[in-house]
């Protein structure tokens, strides 16, 4: 069983997949839908996704060493298993196209204004494909190293931003009249939490049996806390009314922070250009790897390297030329949340129930 990941690596894989890209845009979405009480919405979603994660991890634990495409054929038969694998492949393809396009646009409009879009996409595709070619154990090790740096730097940043900002902006924390708004805001914030389904393609080994479930659930909880810190510290710097105008609110908040001291650089958004991009690279590699593994299970006779090269070209063409802004927005707002809930909740829960009933 060569491709195993340790518990700590699972923690960081889940954490980086969820927060890699969504960190930039979550303050705006949260404030738009729920105001200053957005932390309640985030907390509700965290609990919901921990619930969904429980089923996925239990399935992994039951069928040790197997991934979804393998144990689903034991539960529901070969043909249904192929159908399920293709559902997951299409889902991950949509997510990959969206992610690569969104990240390339983010880099282009914030840092490299004149570089052509397909060059940036090709660059990040190369890194993700190379990472995926080396296997999941490698990705796990990279996530471990990058994850620790990411968490430490960002927590330091958030504490600084909370101290230097105005805490009156983040109040009131809770208002009774607004409870409805908090609860209905849940539907706008599903996309930042989608990512737990990558665990369906990571096999659990015998190192993971004891504490694998605990680490996965802890990871989702930590993601929720991290998101809350992001939202509050961004609001403290920018202000509750201006934040809805910025698509990349966290980056703007970092640009507006000045750390007092003469030897420190004045604009600290270069921290996002280094550490944030590390997290984004991990997130993209994991999604790419999951997609390539799914497609490999669909076409078992093809070589994995060929599949990786084909997928890279497909994503490059799709995200560069075919998808334009309207299609992207339509995908993001309407299709991805529903598809994500099907893939992350409904299918694993159904499989779990069937497995229990059949006493597998």
């Amino acid at each position: 069983m060569k491709s195993t990941v340790t518990n700590r690596q699972i923690f960081f894989i889940i954490f980086l997949t969820l927060t890699g890209y969504s960190l930039i845009s979550i303050p705006k979405d949260a404030v738009k839908s729920a105001g200053t009480g957005a932390w309640i919405t985030v907390l509700l979603l965290t609990i919901g996704f921990m619930f969904g994660m429980f089923f996925i991890v239990s399935l992994n634990k039951k069928f040790e060493g197997k991934v979804l495409s393998e144990y689903s054929s034991l539960i529901v038969g070969k043909i249904m298993s192929k159908v399920i694998t293709s559902i997951y492949s299409v889902y991950f393809l949509i997510i990959s196209v969206f992610l690569f396009r969104a990240v390339s646009e983010f880099i282009k409009y914030n840092y490299l204004h004149l570089t052509p879009l397909f060059v940036i996409t090709a660059l990040i595709l190369f890194v993700s494909a190379y990472n995926s070619y080396k296997g999941i154990t490698n990705i796990g090790r990279i996530c471990e190293i990058y994850g620790i740096i990411y968490v430490l730097v960002f927590i330091f940043m958030y504490i600084t931003m909370l101290f230097l900002g105005d805490t009156k902006y983040i109040q009131p924390f809770f208002e009774k009249n607004e409870i409805k708004q908090y609860i209905f805001g849940v539907k706008d914030l599903i996309v930042p939490f989608l990512g737990i389904e990558i665990l369906t393609m990571i096999p659990f080994g015998n190192v993971n049996t004891k504490k694998g479930r605990l680490y996965s659930l802890l990871s989702v909880l930590f993601v929720g806390v991290f998101y809350i810190m992001t939202i509050e510290s961004s609001i403290a710097i920018i202000g509750i009314n201006s934040i809805v105008n910025y698509d990349n609110a966290l980056l703007e908040a970092m640009r507006e922070t000045t750390i007092p001291g003469t030897f420190i650089p004045e604009r600290i958004d270069f921290i996002f250009a280094t550490v944030g991009i590390m997290g984004i690279i991990c997130c993209l590699s994991i999604v790419f790897n999951t997609l390539s593994e799914n497609v490999t299970k669909l076409l078992p006779r093809t070589n994995k390297n060929t599949i990786i090269i084909i997928i890279s070209f497909v994503i490059l063409i799709l995200s560069g030329y075919i998808v334009n802004k309207d299609i992207l927005k339509f995908l993001l707002n309407n299709i991805v949340p529903i598809y994500g809930i099907v893939v992350a909740f409904i299918i694993p829960i159904k499989l779990y129930i069937i497995a229990k009933v059949r006493k597998l």
């Binding site: 105001g35 200053t36 914030n110 840092y111 490299l112 204004h113 004149l114 570089t115 052509p116 060059v119 105005d166 009156k168 902006y169 109040q171 009131p172 208002e175 009249n177 607004e178 710097i237 920018i238 202000g239 009314n241 201006s242 703007e252 640009r255 507006e256 000045t258 004045e266 604009r267």
Partner: protein, 392 residues
């Protein structure tokens, strides 16, 4: 197979390194702007830019800047600078451009300067009296839209003629932008001035029912000096506060504010400096009336007396009471000015109200509620002898 892969990679790298680097900026092609000033004269907008030219080290010339300053004087004496004559200001380091609207003025300097302007190092932005009265929102939004422009840039106004601000020879300084920014940063660090940066102004503009304050610099006796604050409402200037009137404002808006008072006691003048220790504002909203309870605790220190006398416990208690009374008067005066004279909440009391009654704040008209709001001010000052001098 591997060699072919490496050859392909090397080719791509070579191509990209020659053709690529689309975003490389050669900083030597730019001149670096340090101060931006905006003025409005009879529907015409003028923009003044002070910049650091990169070609100071011309071979054969000295690096001393006095050559540049003397070149820019054009032989005119300083009295004629006080006129509306902008032409005398154009020199090695200062550029003036004008246009009928902001956009035209902004881009006419591209046609007048020999190098590109780099805006990433702008220190501060100064608005003149006329332009402030007509509204500063347009330029603030431009700063928001431009990526290079930092949002931590300071924003000031000036009541004197803006050409005097850019008169390097009279002010006898190498770089006005650096001077102003260092001066204001020093004041902020000594807790004597409020922070007025673009990011705060951007947030304050969004509240239509309240105003905000911006620092004011004037040229007094051929030197730039901070002189009170300017009051803005709906991003338009509605009034000014002098240095005396801004004492109460400082106490309300600055964390750990530092203030100085002179108390007369038993035929001596006692000079006292105090730091704010605790500052709490509680708000209440009953029957449609807004109430604010301000509690202020200060630590005061006796710096010196004009004539040394001995002070016993009763004396110290009296002095403390006098200090508290003085401070209360300042605060109440500041609040009353904002309520009655300007009818505008520029002291940011709406933040405290919104922090407690967020949903109510969205429904009411804050301007009306603020004018009829009630304030209870409670000041306690304690003398803490920090210099270990015993006056008994």
């Amino acid at each position: 197979m591997k060699i072919k892969f490496f050859i392909v990679v090397m080719l791509i790298t070579a191509v990209i390194s020659i053709v690529g680097g689309w975003d490389r900026i050669n900083i030597t092609d730019y001149t670096i702007t340090t101060l931006v000033g905006i003025d409005k004269i009879d529907d015409e907008i003028k923009i003044l830019l002070e910049y650091e030219p990169g070609h100071k080290e011309i071979p054969g010339s000295s690096t001393d800047n006095s050559d540049n300053i003397s070149k820019s004087s054009n032989g005119e004496d300083s009295s004629s600078k006080n006129s509306n004559n902008y032409a005398n200001i154009n020199s090695d380091d200062i550029l003036v451009s004008s246009g009928n609207s902001l956009i035209e003025a902004l881009y006419s300097y591209q046609r007048r300067s020999s190098d590109d302007m780099y805006l990433g190092a702008v220190r501060s932005v100064i608005f003149s009296d006329n332009y402030a009265k007509s509204g500063i929102e347009e330029y603030i939004n431009r700063i928001k839209g431009e990526i290079e422009y930092r949002k931590t840039v300071f924003v000031f106004t000036t009541n004197t003629k803006i050409q005097n601000m850019f008169d390097k020879q009279t002010l006898k300084t190498q770089n006005i932008g650096f001077d102003i920014e260092h001066m204001y940063k020093k004041l902020i660090n000594s807790k004597l001035a409020i922070k007025s940066t673009v990011s705060q102004v951007l947030e304050d503009i969004t509240i239509k029912d309240a105003g905000f304050l911006i620092g004011n610099f004037d040229v007094i006796d051929n030197k730039v000096e901070k002189n009170g604050y300017t009051i803005f409402k709906n991003a338009k200037k509605i009034g000014i506060l002098s240095e005396n009137e801004s004492k109460g404002v400082n106490l309300l808006l600055i964390n750990n504010c530092f203030s100085r008072y002179m108390i007369q006691h038993k035929s001596t003048d006692i000079f006292i400096s105090s730091y704010t220790d605790k500052f709490k504002i509680k708000t209440d909203y009953t029957n449609g009336v807004v109430t604010f309870d301000i509690n202020l605790n200060l630590d005061s220190d006796i710096n010196y007396m004009s004539q040394m006398i001995n002070l016993d416990d009763n004396d110290i208690k009296e002095i403390q009471k006098k200090i508290s009374d003085n401070i209360e008067q300042d605060i109440i005066a500041a609040i009353q000015t904002s309520q009655t004279k300007y009818s505008c909440d520029y002291l940011n009391f709406y933040k405290y109200f919104r922090a407690k009654y967020g949903s109510v704040f969205k429904q009411i008209n804050w301007e009306e509620k603020y004018i009829s709001a009630k304030f209870n001010v409670n000041v306690n000052s304690k003398i803490v002898s920090t210099k270990l001098i015993n006056y008994e």
